[in-house]
């Protein structure tokens, strides 16, 4: 219990991932949904780093850098879409955009 191994990090990452997925599913506000997506990205990064340490090589950390870059691009584009939605509907509630019956 007091010896921290890779599976401790994996379980923590699973918790963060599940919290993020739940946030994506339950919230109506698009800002919070985007923040939950960031939680999911972070859970994935934690996994990559835990495995990088487990195997003693750097590939996981390199992949995490790429993942962070993709997360930054995703946040920029997602918030751009949010602003477009807000300009169109004057709200950030996701169920105000239902033209495609999603």
């Amino acid at each position: 219990m007091l010896e921290i191994g890779t599976q401790h990090y994996l379980v923590l990452s699973a918790v963060l991932f599940a919290v993020g997925v739940t946030g994506i599913l339950v919230r109506r506000n698009m800002i919070t949904v985007l923040m939950s997506i960031e939680l999911v990205f972070n859970a994935a990064n934690l996994n990559l780093i835990a495995f990088s340490f487990q195997h003693g090589n750097l590939t996981g950390q390199i992949f995490a850098i790429f993942s962070i870059a993709v997360a930054a691009g995703e946040a920029a584009v997602g918030l751009g879409i949010l602003l477009a939605l807000f300009r169109l509907r004057s709200t950030t509630q996701l169920d105000s955009a239902q033209e495609l019956q999603g």
Binding site: I4, M35, I68, A71
Partner: protein
């Protein structure tokens, strides 16, 4: 004191893990997105500490700079721009939120059972030693730089093009019609 020095890694892990999970729950449940963003910042910073505990020093600082700095400023800026006070939402959660929570718990149970059941060879407590082509030892950041600019040069360049595309996309989406 002896206990603290002997189990410092474990204590720090549980401390930062608990902070990260509680703050993540706040992100999901807070009514005001501004409080959610602050909770998200706390999650990012405790994850950076956890990266340090796994000897990913460079990534811990990238986490603080990119997530704690850049992405967080982006979120706060947008939250202020859309003026949350005006958006008095009557309902915070979607109508079938309990079902979604059950799905999330099932996902968590599945992942946790699989992960907790995995048996790993205990990794070395010391950080792996990296050497360059001439055999001199180097630190984490230097090793990542070598790896990034030699083995992963093409993906690195592709990511820079991707960031350019994302930037143009954000500008196009965000401009006044």
């Amino acid at each position: 004191m002896e206990f603290l020095t002997a189990h410092g890694q474990a204590i720090l892990f549980y401390l930062f893990a608990a902070v990260a999970v509680v703050a993540a729950c706040f992100v999901v449940t807070m009514r005001n997105p501004m409080y959610g963003a602050i909770a998200l910042l706390v999650t990012f910073l405790s994850l950076a500490a956890l990266f340090l505990l796994r000897h990913a020093e460079f990534l811990a600082f990238v986490q603080v700079f990119v997530y704690g700095g850049g992405i967080m400023v982006l979120f706060l800026f947008v939250i202020m721009l859309v003026n949350v006070d005006r958006l008095k939402e009557s309902r915070v959660f979607v109508p079938n939120a309990p079902l979604a929570v059950v799905v999330g718990l099932l996902l968590l149970g599945l992942l946790a059972v699989v992960f907790a059941g995995m048996a790993f060879v205990p990794a070395d407590a010391a950080p792996p030693a990296f050497v360059d082509v001439e055999g001199t030892a180097m630190g984490n950041s230097e090793a990542i730089a070598w790896s990034l600019y030699r083995e992963y040069l093409l993906p690195f360049e592709i990511v820079s093009v991707f960031l350019l595309v994302a930037m143009i996309g954000a500008v196009v989406l965000g401009r006044e019609q």
